[in-house]
Structure formats: C-alpha cells, structure tokens
Homo-oligomer: 566 residues x 2
C-alpha cells in the first residue's frame, strides 16, 4: 500500500486501484434489481441446496466481480442522471420534496433496498423521523435511509490524525468498512491533507460520508480554538459541501452557560468538537458562533441537501457522568435547533452518547424523541461500563443493541482500540461486524420485516450440517470458516454430520433429526397431537391413574398452560 | 506443556506445576482480609497516585506471589478445618443450615468477599434465591454465592472431547479461566480419561466445579444412549460426588411427552444432555429415569451438599425456536423438581437458554422466577441473533447483559469458537473477559453496591492521563497496554497528556481540565450557580432582553427543567 505523485485532477497523489479490496465476499455475488431505470444492488448468498438469500448490500461496485475499479476516476456518478425536482421555497432537499408529496428517485431506490413501500419512505422523511443523507454533489453514492422505521444502520469512523495514517490507507479503510456492512462512514481526519484525503474518499465512496467541519477549521487556525471565527467555519463548511459531504456534525448545542455544568464531572468534556467550542466560548465569554449563526448554516445546507447531525458535545465520557445536567441541557437545545433546521427544509439527526449504564439507556431515547421531534437518533455505543478498554467494541455493542431496540436509527461503531489508539484495518472490520450484530439484534427485536430470514437460513443450514452455507450466511464467512478449520481442517468435515465440539459419537443435532422422524411417524408433532395422545392414554389407564402418586404424567392442563407465551 | 508418568496417588500421569500460569495480574497483588479465623482473598490494584482498589478475586493461590503451587499435591484443603454443623433431618447442606438459622463459615467467607451483611447471605440461601455450591469433598474451594442479590457470576466451560485436548491443557484452562475472573468452571469432558481429568481439576480448582454426569454415563455404555440405565447413571453421580463436584447439571425436565414438541423446530434439540435423554425416552417409550428417580438423586445430593443445576435440555438453539412450547413446558417441570429438591434440603439453580431475541429475554426471567420459586437462574448467553458465528461471544454478551439485568444470577460464557470448534486458551480468555463485561454491566444496572467504584476509578485515571492505572484497572490490563503501545510505544507516552486518537494539539480531556479550572475560578460549578449568574445578567440586561429575538439566552426554566432525570 503506497502513494505516488500523478497528474490526477483532484490531487497531487496517486492511489493505485490494486490497494483496494475488491471482489465478492466468499459465497456471495452482486445481484441487481431493476426498479424502473434504477439498478438497486443486493448481495445474493448462494446456498448449496440450490436456494439463495438476498441481503442488504452497502459495498458498492467493489464487490461486483464484473466492475472495473479505477480509483483515479472515482466511482460512476450514477445519481447525476437521476431526476432532481425543483427546489421548494429555496430548499432542494429530500425533506422539502417529501413534504410536498414528491417521490424522488432516491426514495424509490431506498424502498427497493429496504423492501418497504415507497410511501413509508416518503412519509417518514416528511415527518422528519427519517433522513436521506445525499448531497447533490456526491452522485457516486447509493441512497440509504436512517430512521427507526427502517433497518438500523451502522456508521464507521475513519480518518487520519497527526500521529498516524496515509491517504491510501484511509481510502482502503472506507472500502473495507463498507465491504463488511458500514452504512455510512465518517471522515474524522485531523492531521495533514484533510481536504485531499476527503476528496479521495468522496469520489470513491458508495455510501454517504459525514464529517465534523470544526476539525478542519481548527487546522486552519493552527490548532488554537480561541482563534476560530464564524467566517473560517462557514468557508470550511462550503468547501466540504462542494466536495459532496452528505452529513455534518455540528456541535451547536454547546452553549456558554452549559460549559460549567461539566466542571464536576469525572471526565469533563470528552467530545473533541464539544471541547473546542467550550474552549472558544470560555475564552471569548460569548455565545457559540455555531448557535448564533445557525440560520445561515441552514441556508447553506439546504442548497446541497446536507443533513445536520447535531453533535452532543457534552455527552458523558464515563458511567459516572451519564444522564447528567450538562448532557440533557444540551439535548434540549438540540431540540430547539431541530425545529429551526426543519423550518428551513433541512434534514436533521441527533447524536447521542457515549457511556451509559444499561438502566439509563431507554431514558435517552425517550427524551431525545420528546425534545427533538423524533428526529433520527444516532448514538456512539453507548458503552455499558468503563472497565474494559481493549474490549470497548463489546461494552458498547451491549449498549448499542439496547438503544437501537429502543428506537435509535443509526449506531456509530466503536473498535477494540477505542480509548487506546487508532483502529487499523482489522479493528475496523471487528468494529463493523460487532455493530452489524447490535443493529441486526435490534432489527429482530423490533420485528423488522424479513430480518429473521437470515437467522432462520443460517440455523437451518447449521441443523442440516451444511457447513459451507453456515459460513457463507454469517456476517463474516472468512473468520467462521477459519475457526472451524482450526480444529477440523479436512474438506470432508465440511459435510460431516458432526463437529469438533462433541465429536462423532455424540451429536445432539443428529439425535434431533431422529426425533423429528419419530414424531412424524407417530403423528406427534403439535401440542394438540400430544394432548390428544395423553388423553387417549389416560382414558385407557384411568384406573391406574386414579391411584395417583405417579408423577410420570401431569394433568393435561399443566402441559398446555405452559405454552401460553410462545 | 506436556504430561509424563509419575506415582501420584490420583493418577497415572504427572502434570508439571510450571505449565500453569501463576503470579499476580499486572499491577495487582493478592490481599487477604482476616474474618475471624478465615482468610478472605481480594485482588488489590495499586495505583500510581498512592490509592488502591480492592476487587473480587476468583483466582485462588495461583495469583499469590508467595504461594507455592504443587499441582501434584493439589491446593491446600482449607475448608477441612472449618466448622461443619450437624445435618438437619439428614440434610448436610447450606440450605438446611440457613433455614435453621445457622450461619456457616462459608456464609461468613462469602459475606466478606461480597461486602454484604452475612444475614443477607443466610436469608437468601434459606429462601432458595441463592445457592452456595460447596461439596464437602471439595475443601480446596473458596466459597462463593450465586443469587440475584449478589454480584452476577460467570461460568467458564472447559473439557476435552474425543477430538482434541489433553489433561494438562484442561487444568491450565481452569487456572487460566479463573485468573481472568471465572467464578465457577464446568468440566464438560466427553472423551477419554473423564474421571482422571476431573480429579486433576478438582484437586487444583479454587472455584466450584460443575459437571454433566450423563456425559460420563454415556461413555460407560459406549456412546449408545438407549443402553443407559438409572443404575449406571446413579453410580456415575456417586463417583463424581466422591471426587467433590460442587454442582451437577441434570436434565430431568426432558419428559417423554415434550420430545415431539421439538419436531417442528428449526434446530430441534441442541442440548447434548437433552438429546441423550430424548433418545432414551423415545427408544424405550418410557418416562426419563432422571425424572422417575429424582427423589433418590436428592438423597445423594444432600449428603455431599451438591447443588442441582436443573438443565434445560429443550432450550432453543435458534432465534426461530425461542420461547416455544417445548422450552416452557420443560421449565414448568423444572419448577416442580425445584420444589422436590428443596423439600429434601438440596440447593437448586435453573439453567436457561440459549438463543433468544432481545424482546423475548425478560419473559424468560419472569417465567423462571414464577415457576421455579425464584431459584437462581443460570443462562447460556443467550445469543441475540444467529447470524454471527465466530462472534458468538458478542452476540451472546448482548443477551447475557440483558438477562442478568433482569435477574439472572450466573452467566455461562460463550467463546468465539461456539458452533465452530473447541475453545483454545485465547478463546477461553476472550470468553471470560466478555462475560465479565456482561456481568459487571448488569451489576451497574442493578445498582449493586460498590460496582461503580471500579468504573469511576478507571475513568478518573483516564481523565488524569494516568495510563498505567487505566491499564491496571481494566479487566484485561495486558491487552489494553498492548493496544496502546501499538501506536505510541515509547514509555514517556504513558504519562503524556494526549494520546494517538487526537494527537498532541487536540485533546478534549486537556481542554476539559481548563474548563474545570475556569469554573472553579468563577464560582460556576453547579446548575444553581449558573442559574444565579444568568439571573444576575438578566437583571443587568433586562432592557436588552425585552427586545427579544435574541436566542443566546433561553429563559431560566428551560435550563433547569432539563436536569430533572439526571
């Protein structure tokens, strides 16, 4: 993986296409569904029994075996040829169009991806309960929706810092993260070449890209927050808007008077954006320019259809600080800003914590929905405990699954390196897979249509000893196969009717198959069959049963009563 | 790691003591608290600021730098010198003594470990809401308690199968699992040398050991379940009881008439014990001998004080089968057996699933408590989705944390190899740490006294850039340190006031420290301070405020109202 100079129009660097991971995930193939003139991608998992399962696919052309990838040229600009409706009262946004009853191509595309009715897409967007982050200047992206009526989404953070990383690595991290299922990525670069890194990512990203413009603004004032001005910030936003950034985190809720509320916290302010704005407010003893210029920001956003991701600059950084005054004071202000943004026709989502113990998680969703007009909630974990650095993908997956079940629309992943270092390629994959688990668990718990199809297909494959299918249906086929092969590497083991956990003599799955055969043979399949059989036996043996003392058969109602909740 | 022949009384093998992992965890030291004549171990984490934190310690003498470990001789038989009360109506059990108002040495030891009043221990045991698995013939063990009023516990399964593993590896796995926090271990060996492997483990285990006797019984009939008899099973139980096994899984709730209820399941019967008993019942068309001879089993258990772990042989093996008729029919029978066991003075816990989507988890705890007299619930995960083999420690940690929050007393760990292969040493560690996360998250959510001390200490260390303390307070100091050092390996970085995530210019933690200084200087620390300041400013600027249109300062009540839930 390396960079070298070229004459490319968008950079002084050249990034070789062959540094990127391409080709289908093992056992899968790209499958397009034509919806009118739109081509909607799915990933088709082909099974050894001749069946297949189509699943949501975030990976873009990179996993299409027939696609020619040219990282210099960027991805095809598919959305440039789509129909774009006229602005409504100056707003050229999915929100404005949805409210006006207009079904956009983006909405049609999304309905086909999510297997839902397009009117659900339009009405949820119109109500502000869902957003479609799709800057007009990012035509390479495949539209997606973030809202609690839809599949829970996952964001992966990438980006270099002053200490590590190169542009090439960041582009590959984007491709790699979306390969494993990241629905959006955020470029959080803080080091050199911020503009250039972002340009490469934008032109090659099939998913929406988010940024935190204050990071680049701070670079422009050599890292001194007190030197920031509205003008520098505004120009940075426009620069990024022109590049096609789809959503931007804006910490406009960090008000001067909230800052001292963090003074007694165990971990103060842990958001970078929040701490920058807090430092600015304190130094100038003035209200945040993000707050006082918020209307102007809305004017910019609505021209490009950039979605606000209103940042929680005062989110808790520890269990001790969860759900405190500072956090909820800011959330109330984010609610006020939500109303203002929407009055400009701008789409909004709300960022959430952070570190929250399990019993305080649901309250976060309830308050967010109450204060912020049910704008989509987008949370970072939260971590359910502080005591496991190096495992914070897991501490936070617990919180993420629960907060998504409660209604959070998108989860920002956390990698094993959280709190310790910057994630490498392996960490990115582990983070994405872990968050796909949390998101999918929530989809199941919310009864999302068709979510359970994949669980059922995998479990059926497991029960029928179709090992290859079990691997290919997994979120990470490669690692599942690798773990299996560590113990039973031989190819025949892939079709063996046992595995290394129990050995050949001793297999519950095999015995279960015998049970099934027995039950069908004896017409004993349902609870009713069994009740009927017991009743027959009781009639035949009524004299013996009258003697009692025999616990072998309980009264019938004890059996059927146990089934009431299934 | 190797074995060689010796003249040891309990085996034909010799296991070198130096294959075992000994010595304290980095940054910690063994700390004993004397309670009367009992020495109660804690792990003391020494911090660089001169403070320390004592935490629960399951690791036994292996982490005591001064202990001499002789695996041939086994651990000291400390409990042999403790006072053992007379049997009550034939029952020589903690339950019988607790009901009689007797406080045992085991209860005193546990009260000191858990930092609770000894009367809480006695009354919870007396009520059957907690168990103390402590076979009189396992005097090497350090007593512990399993019950929802106490810290949530974690079990680690070890054991060889016909395909893999040696005795030495299994003993080291036991030492290794308890080093990282396993509260009990289960020896699930199914291959050769079951008796011998268990003997080595028992004599060297500082934690209670559980088994599933049907596995060994099956070995005695060459793996053919239909050849099993009550007599073979009973003799196996007595053999294991004599060795000191502290709790035994008994699948006595798999009744003949429940078996066909599994026929239409996606994954049938996935419990090994459950499938063995189902096969036996079907072959003989007779009720399970575990059920018909349950009273006799109780007579054996109460002599040794073995705790029943009533197995869920019909637990669901997939999301599709969760909370179905078969599962809850069996649970009702486990409730019946709980009453019988307790009438004999025998302690009981109840095993639970398995694979359960999040929205069906709480119902499992509610029903278990209702049907089984609130006997401690002991669950395997549950996995919140089926689609992530190779990550099932994570899919199940989500379910485990939630079910523990709802009242489950002990969690059986799941390793990354679940469904794929047998766990190796690294998998055991990842499984234990992952489950400590789930258990601790639940302790926090339940408001367990002092649980948050460790979170607070770690977060405070993090905020103060005490990197070494942050590592040492972590569940896994070694991996936390390793991940940090990958990016910033130099020793000065351990005290640097920044980290690789943001680089030196850009640190929210540092800015937060500035905020704290500012707030204290300006007497702006509480919400009241800030309200007072706003009121002062409003009075001074009342004229300007009357003009309105200025959103910089909201009315006071908007600020204070946001704090109601913190």
């Amino acid at each position: 993986m390396g960079t070298r100079v070229s004459n490319s129009s968008h950079s002084a660097y050249r990034v070789d296409s062959d540094i990127l991971t391409t080709g289908p995930i093992e056992g899968s193939a790209k499958h397009y569904v034509d919806v009118g003139d739109l081509r909607v991608p799915h990933r088709r998992i082909n099974l050894t029994n001749g069946e297949h399962l189509d699943v949501y696919d975030t990976s873009g052309p990179y996993t299409d075996a027939t696609a020619v990838i040219d990282v210099e040229a960027g991805l095809p600009r598919a959305r440039d040829s789509w129909h774009r409706p006229e602005p409504i009262d100056g707003a050229s946004t999915q929100l404005a169009w949805a409210r006006a009853g207009i079904v956009t191509d983006e909405m049609r595309f999304i309905a086909a991806r999510e297997n839902v009715d397009v009117e659900l897409v339009r009405t949820e967007v119109a109500a502000g309960r869902a957003v479609i982050p799709a800057n007009h200047r990012h035509p390479e992206s495949e539209p997606m929706i973030i809202g609690k009526a839809f599949a829970v989404k996952v964001n992966a953070n990438i980006g270099n810092s002053a200490v590590t990383s190169s542009i090439a690595e960041e582009v590959e991290k984007m491709v790699w993260a979306t390969r494993w299922g990241a629905d959006t990525i955020m470029d959080l670069s803080t080091g050199d070449d911020i503009h250039l890194t972002r340009e490469w990512i934008m032109r090659n990203s099939p998913v929406p890209v988010g940024t935190v413009p204050i990071y680049q603004a701070l670079e422009k004032v050599k890292g001194d927050p007190t030197k920031l001005t509205w003008e520098i910030y505004r120009d940075t936003v426009i620069e990024q808007a022109e590049q096609g950034v789809d959503y931007m985190t804006v910490h406009a809720g960090v008000l001067l008077r909230y800052v001292p509320l963090t003074a007694r916290r165990v971990t103060g302010i842990v958001s970078r954006g929040g701490s920058i704005m807090a430092a600015w407010c304190l130094a100038h003893h003035e209200e945040s320019f993000l707050y006082t210029h918020f209307d102007e920001l809305c004017e910019i956003f609505r021209r490009y259809d950039i979605t606000f991701s209103l940042g929680d600059g005062l989110r808790p950084g520890s269990i001790a600080d969860a759900n405190d005054e500072a956090q909820f004071a800011e959330l109330r202000t984010l609610g006020e800003l939500t109303g203002i943004a929407k009055s400009h026709g701008v789409q909004v989502m709300i960022e959430g914590p952070g570190h929250i113990p399990m019993h305080k998680i649901v309250e976060n969703v309830r308050l967010e929905e109450e204060l912020c007009e049910e704008a989509p909630f987008y949370t970072l974990g939260p971590l359910a405990t502080d005591i496991a650095p190096a495992y914070d993908h897991i501490t936070s997956a617990i919180g993420a699954a629960m907060i998504a079940q409660a209604g959070t629309a998108m989860l920002c992943y956390v990698t094993p390196k959280e709190h310790l270092g910057l994630p490498d390629r392996d960490d990115v994959k582990v983070g994405v897979i872990t968050y796909k688990i949390a998101a999918h668990s929530a989809d199941l718990a919310k009864g999302h249509p068709r979510a359970q199809e994949r669980d059922d297909a995998l479990s059926k494959a497991r029960f029928e000893f179709r090992w290859t299918d079990q691997f290919n249906l997994a979120l990470d086929p490669d690692t599942a196969r690798e773990y299996h092969d560590e113990t039973l590497p031989a190819e025949p083991a892939k079709t063996a009717h046992f595995c290394s956990m129990c050995g050949p003599k001793f297999c519950s799955m095999r015995i279960s198959a015998d049970v099934r055969a027995y039950a069908e043979e004896h017409d004993l399949v349902t609870a009713e069959d069994i009740d009927r059989r017991i009743a027959q036996e009781m009639a035949a043996k009524s004299a013996e049963f009258a003697e009692a003392g025999n616990r072998v058969y309980l009264p019938i109602d004890a059996t059927s009563g146990a089934t009431s909740t299934s």
